[in-house]
């Protein structure tokens, strides 16, 4: 169930009820981020720790390899960057101020 952008109080389920399971992907939750992770490809060993640790579903993976970051769901928590082992001590994910990225 997605709520149309122009919906009013008469159009939505009462009391904030969510009438469908698994609908979090229809609700963009990345809007209140302060920092965002930025990927540095030459330091990435595709260990996918970032994908494992991301509490949402913001790390995109294709064919077993890091593909990108879905900023619509990234809240800037920084766990991916913290867990990233990088290559020879150089991290493949670093957090930068959202407006400077």
């Amino acid at each position: 169930m997605s709520v149309p952008k122009d919906a009013g109080w008469k159009d939505v389920p009462k009391a904030g009820r969510i009438l469908e399971p698994g609908c979090a992907d229809k609700y963009e939750t990345g809007g209140w981020r302060t920092y965002r992770p930025v990927h540095i490809e030459e330091n990435c060993i595709n260990c996918l720790f970032c994908w494992i640790y991301c509490p949402d579903q913001a790390i995109l993976v294709e064919d077993g390899k890091f593909k990108g970051i879905d900023y619509a769901y990234c809240k800037g928590c920084g766990i991916c960057a913290k867990e990233c082992p990088g290559k020879r001590g150089n991290k493949a994910l670093k957090m930068v101020l959202d407006e400077e990225a």
Binding site: G8, W9, K14, A15, G16, E20
Partner: protein
């Protein structure tokens, strides 16, 4: 054929609950409500009902368990008084906001402190903005009738709000009177099978109830809640009409007693209406054009209807059995006076705060109120906007 019985208010409401046979009752004892759940628990123990009775450790848990049961899809009830209601407070608001049709008898008792167990309306008046429908009862018969009607009102799909059914502590709850009860099957037929909306236990249609609701949609959900309270007014009247067909007893949003051509009128809730009606009869016999308006439904507040009923009266006294401590007057006064604001050349209106902490109100007290009103009607002058009736000066 209804059955004539002698019952106290508490016994009458416990009997209504037996006939309603709710799926879940979660309750905690508090004077003067204790008997309701104590009698009901004996119905549970004796297999007279199918109810899951949850003996919680506090009223906060009583209302929380009732909310949980209702969200799960159960017909859920509880009951309380005074400080028990106060202890439920945060969950009382949540029950209304989650749109759960819980019915809760509340036996009116003064909210501490100083510590007191006797009747006034400070407990439910404090909850008047909690989003619950509030129905007041004059006697045990009305408490019984209101409890049964409350189910149909709460569960109406245009309403889906919880309902408090009140009666005056001790004065009604512990006094025995002759009343009529319905046969069990008639009550069950009247309230019907409960079909919950979005129950959590419907595992084939999983839903989330009560998620966080911030700046983006909270306002819209509160707007829906406000509309549900507006929708309740016609539903209360429809249910009353159906109930009258069954019992011959007619209920409205309020009762007008000898209001035809009345020049002076008292607005009152609960058991004091009985005392005041006797005084009205006396005054009418003496040729005084006295009337009485007894508010049954305080939430939703029938503002337009009350304004219409009082527009031709010269002087009105509101009887408040609690104080708002706003340095103006009681809560009923505020609402009634506001309802009359747009009436052109409307009545003068004054407030009497009375019966606090169970202080007796006698026909003599009511006579002084009507005497004051006669003077106001005569002169058009209000000397005392607010009187503390029966306090020792």
């Amino acid at each position: 054929m209804s059955i004539r019985v002698g019952k106290t208010g508490n016994e009458a409401v416990a009997e209504a609950m037996r006939q309603i046979n709710p799926d879940v009752v979660a309750a905690y004892p508090i004077t003067p409500q204790t008997e309701i759940v104590q009698i009901f628990s004996s119905f549970v123990a004796n297999g007279k009902v199918d109810t899951e009775f949850v003996t919680v450790e506090s009223e906060h848990s009583a209302m929380s368990a009732t909310v949980g049961a209702s969200a799960a899809g159960a017909r859920a009830m509880t009951a309380t008084s005074a400080n028990g209601l106060a202890f439920m407070w945060e969950v009382v608001y949540i029950a209304a906001a989650m749109r759960l049709p819980i019915v809760m008898p509340v036996v009116n008792r003064a909210l501490s402190g100083p510590l007191n167990i006797h009747c006034d309306h400070s407990d439910t008046m404090g909850a008047r903005d909690s989003g619950w429908i509030q129905i007041f009862s004059e006697n045990a018969q009305e408490a019984y009738d209101n409890a049964i009607q409350a189910l149909r009102i709460a569960e109406n799909s245009n309403v889906l709000l919880p309902v408090m059914v009140t009666m005056d502590g001790f004065i009604i709850s512990h006094a025995m009177e002759v009343m009529e009860i319905l046969e069990d099957e008639k009550v069950r037929e009247f309230i019907g099978e409960y079909v919950p909306e979005n129950p959590l236990l419907d595992v084939d249609n999983p839903v989330t109830i009560g998620p966080i609701d911030l700046q983006d949609w909270n306002f819209e959900h509160k707007r829906q809640q406000a509309e549900a309270m507006r929708n309740a007014k016609p539903v209360i009247l429809e249910v009353a009409k159906d109930y009258a067909k069954l019992t011959g007893r007619e209920y409205g949003l309020f009762e007008e007693y000898r209001m035809e051509d009345a020049e002076v009128a008292v607005v009152v809730l609960g058991s004091t209406a009985g005392t005041a009606k006797a005084v009205v009869d006396e005054l009418r016999a003496d040729g005084v054009r006295a009337g009485l308006l007894k508010i049954r439904v305080f939430r939703p507040f029938p503002a337009e209807e009350i304004a219409e009923a009082l527009k031709d009266v010269k002087a009105v006294a509101v009887m408040d059995r609690s104080d708002s401590f706003n340095a103006v007057g009681g809560p009923v006064f505020g609402d009634v006076r506001s309802a009359l604001y747009d009436v052109e050349n409307g009545p003068r209106i004054v407030d009497y705060i009375y019966g606090i902490g169970g202080r007796d109100v006698t026909p003599d007290h009511i006579r002084t109120v009507y005497a004051d009103l006669a003077k106001i009607a005569d002169t058009g002058q209000v000397e005392n906007l607010l009187t503390y009736l029966g306090v020792r000066e």
